[in-house]
Symmetry: C2
Subunit: 192 residues, 2 copies
């Protein structure tokens, strides 16, 4: 079966057991938001105990505090009333295995998927590639805990972020499912 049909089939089953969820309100019932990574192994609803309607979930490559993540967070509180935020990176994140230089080089060689070896990603595809990757900041990570603190700090210092919103910095451990507090993130994310 194709991926599309698998998704639509799974959706039919979800619709059949949908119950009263159609009555949920637009603003998150539990008043908080989570920024986390797109990684397939992470299910924030499961690892943080969210039911439909509870909390905003923002996800991108690396759980980085990109301009777009901040756009989403500001909408989340200003229009929909969240008052507490989590930044949750994770162990074994793909963003730790490459650099801007490496990504730009890979993309310049081909647009096919690269392979991952002990030395990092290497290209196996056929060209043509594209130079467009040189114009993108890939927001890679070289130090996990430091990246969490920097992301928390970037959000904390943003002029549109109210001073009274606590921002929690955590790492999700993909090996155990555990949320680990990042030393130093508490101070960086403390409400002003």
């Amino acid at each position: 079966m194709s991926v599309l049909n698998e998704v639509l089939d799974a959706n039919k089953k979800y619709v059949d057991s949908f119950g009263e969820k159609g009555k949920l309100a637009l603003p998150p019932a539990r008043g908080f938001a989570i920024l986390t990574c797109m990684d397939a192994r992470l299910d924030p609803a499961k690892y943080a105990g969210l039911s439909e309607g509870d909390a905003h979930v923002i996800r991108n490559a690396g759980a980085r505090a990109s301009d777009d993540a901040i756009r989403s967070l500001v909408i989340s509180y200003k229009l929909l009333g969240t008052k507490e935020w989590f930044v949750i990176h994770h162990s074994n994140c793909g963003m730790e295995f490459f650099t801007d230089v490496a990504m730009r080089d890979l993309l310049s060689k081909s647009l096919e998927t690269a392979a991952l070896g002990s030395e990092g990603f290497y290209d196996v595809g056929k060209g043509p590639g594209s130079n467009e990757g040189a114009y993108i900041d890939w927001l890679t990570i070289s130090d996990r805990d430091k990246a969490v603190i920097e992301d928390v700090q970037r959000i904390r210092r943003h002029p549109l972020v109210p001073s009274n919103i606590p921002i929690h910095g955590y790492v999700y451990e993909v090996e155990t499912g555990k949320l680990l507090e990042v030393p130093g993130a508490k101070q960086a994310g403390a409400a002003k």
Copy 2:
């Protein structure tokens, strides 16, 4: 109990039933990615039938094809091998209820949460506000189906997106849980 303690308590229960999930591989097992909205009512793992390890999930305010969403999608296929993508907006999206002008005006008045009335959002907070909102494109939505098609097209036309990746455009109906195909999105998202 505080939100933080609730999340950590839920996480403990998840860890206790974690099973063999610590052995999941980094690349998504089912080779696809979903771009969807941060809305609290959406649980893409549930509405699309995803288990941990299956697929990348990217989320932002509106499920928009922002530069950051495209950064994440390009990493998703180039480094981690996804070959099929979904763009899934939803009904009753908050992004339909305001405009850049309205958001900038609200933020300039105060940084507290606004209220939603029949005429849209209105400010109830005390100043000071900030002019910083004038420098952000909030990526609001005025026509739901058109926005899906535009997002699919923006991704389709991006120079770093390989021509053979299908991109599916859908709307999740929050009233029923159903995924509805957007007329015209199929053509816009077809592999070249």
